[in-house]
Amino acid sequence: MAMTPHPDALLIAYLRGELAENDRRSVADHLAACSECARAAENFQRILNDLGSSLPQPPQVHWGAYRAELGEKLEARRRPWRWQWLRRPVPLALSAAAAGVLLILGVQSWISGPLGNGDLASLEETVVASRLDLLRQYAVIERLDLWEDLDVVRRLDELYPGRKG
């Protein structure tokens, strides 16, 4: 019987029983006649079995925390753009404003001569006072988040104590 070409790419489909009858028969005939392919098929099967029986396990995950985190991410995507605008730039605006105050006071004091200890203290007070106002605004914005039930999402597991991860 004339040897058909080595059916390389069909071997795995053959081993998995995925080939149509014509192809299956043709590969089976080839394997009966070609020891090289027969050995390859045997090795492939063993490797597939070995891989299937020794799957590495990823590091453990706390599934409750995973779902809570997913809930937060999804909520953040659904939040209208103006909420994102309010949330994200505030810490940035805070630092920028504080840096601005420092710069202005620094330049002023530089012009009016070297700072004494009293000047330093008053500079610190001014900066902290300006920050306090901004911080109060920030706290209000943080509280608005609670309206969006983020906290509920964080505590999904407590709401459904029977659930397992």
Binding site: D8, A9, L10, L11, I12, A13, R16, E18, R39, A40, N43, F44, I47, L48, D50, L51, G52, S54, L55, P56, Q57, P58, P59, V61, W63, Y66, R67, E69, L70, K73, L74, R77
Partner: protein, 189 residues
């Protein structure tokens, strides 16, 4: 009666939160494990599997039920992971230059010399297995993804092709190359 994944997905399209939560619970472990198998990084696997669920939520309306839900979802997940690896390839090249590329002619494993003796006799099974999995890590992204979808998720070739957005013939070539490389690693003639 338990609702099928497909009907749950239809409900997610109607913004049914409970249906979404149920799908997440059904698929979270598989999604994370598959992402980890492709990325080999727990943080990235967590992040990208969650991203796949977000995409599922956003795109549930386009599911259409033409494929199985699992195939459709794996397609989202696996392509997120493969895109991520492609984007970070330049960095991996710097920190881990041994990893092979999709386009490379043959993987690192294929270039390794075959050991002289049958390692099954030479080493214990555990060592052979870790060597085998190290070789899997050295395969190209596409080859590894095809192989993992087969041995880990048990997907038939036709579904692997749908997930990887390629033809069945291409999947067969990926799998054949992958197994040929692994066989060489184990010293198969």
């Amino acid at each position: 009666m338990e609702l099928s994944d497909e009907s749950l997905c239809e409900r997610v399209a109607g913004r049914d939160e409970a249906a979404f939560n149920l799908l997440v619970e059904r698929y979270q472990q598989r999604a994370y494990r598959l992402a980890w198998s492709i990325l080999r990084d727990a943080e990235e696997a967590r992040d990208l599997s969650q991203e796949a669920f977000i995409r599922l939520y956003q795109a549930a309306g386009s599911f259409g039920g033409r494929a199985r839900f699992s195939t459709w979802f794996y397609r989202i997940l696996v392509n997120l992971c493969l895109d991520h690896r492609r984007k970070h390839r330049w960095w991996r090249r710097v920190v881990a230059p041994v990893h092979s590329e999709d386009e490379a002619e043959g993987s690192v494993v294929e270039r390794l010399p075959a050991p002289a003796q049958d390692p099954l006799e030479e080493l214990g099974r555990g060592r052979v297995m870790s060597r085998l999995w190290a070789a899997v890590d050295g395969l190209s992204h596409q080859q590894r993804a095809a192989l993992l979808l087969q041995v880990q998720e048990g997907l038939p070739t036709a579904e692997i092709a749908l997930v990887l957005k390629c033809s069945e013939a291409t999947v067969r070539v990926h799998l054949h190359r992958a197994l040929t490389a692994l066989r060489k690693t184990l010293g198969g003639a």
